[in-house]
Symmetry: C2
DNA sequence: CGGCTACTTGGCTATTTTGCCAAGTATGAA
DNA sequence: TTCATACTTGGCAAAATAGCCAAGTAGCCG
């Protein structure tokens, strides 16, 4: 096994995973999985300053997770990869398993 | 759509995603996907201080991603959820798409 | 043109994360 | 018991993230 290649691959993956590693960004991603949204819609959903949301979006865009399209005054974002929905499902499998484990501990 | 529920769900997901959002932790996860490893093997693989690796492992364990088993002097870790392999595949789909996009920009 | 809305960017502070060293625990061997 | 190995934990300093405000850009309408 090539340790250097493994390291590089992990670094690349980390860039994508980090771009999702925040509650607000996961909310954005989930909303976009349902269809495109403009920044003000996402801002209302998240309940933070628009500048904050805009920076989250810029980060997600920079790693290729989402794509913007300007129409009139609004900028609409959409997921650039439908495979993201699968990723969310994988995460949920783990969170459910985690919840079950906590149940066992508590019960 | 219940905004509060969405917020909670995203917070839960973020806990899991954050536990993967680091190159070393992704290396660990990839290694464990191939089978259990003890801490010193992982330390050699990653090339950091053992205390650092141990803290990464503690974090991953705390969110239920991995499970330890002590045998003699060693502690062996394994993935607690095989679905993690799927998650890695999802991430790779995105990184490949990202790489393709960069290609287009460069070319 | 001026003013309005939608959004982005700069800059700053507060918080979180990371990684090393040092010190502690646990197990096995002599 | 003493020593060595494997690992964890505490603590600290450096680095990365997050979020707000203020200021800037861009498109529409009068």
């Amino acid at each position: 096994m090539n340790s250097r290649a493994c390291r590089d691959r992990s670094a690349q993956r980390a860039v994508v995973v980090k771009a999702l590693a925040h509650p607000s960004r996961l909310m954005i991603a989930e909303a976009l999985a349902d269809g495109e949204r403009c920044v003000c819609e996402l801002t209302a959903l998240i309940g933070a300053d628009m500048s904050t949301v805009s920076k989250h979006l810029a980060l997600m865009k920079s790693v290729g997770l989402i794509e913007p399209e300007k129409r009139g005054l609004n900028v609409y974002y959409r997921l650039s990869c439908p495979c993201f929905a699968d990723l969310l499902r994988c995460v949920d499998l783990i969170t459910r398993k985690q919840a079950a484990a906590l149940q066992r501990v508590a019960g």
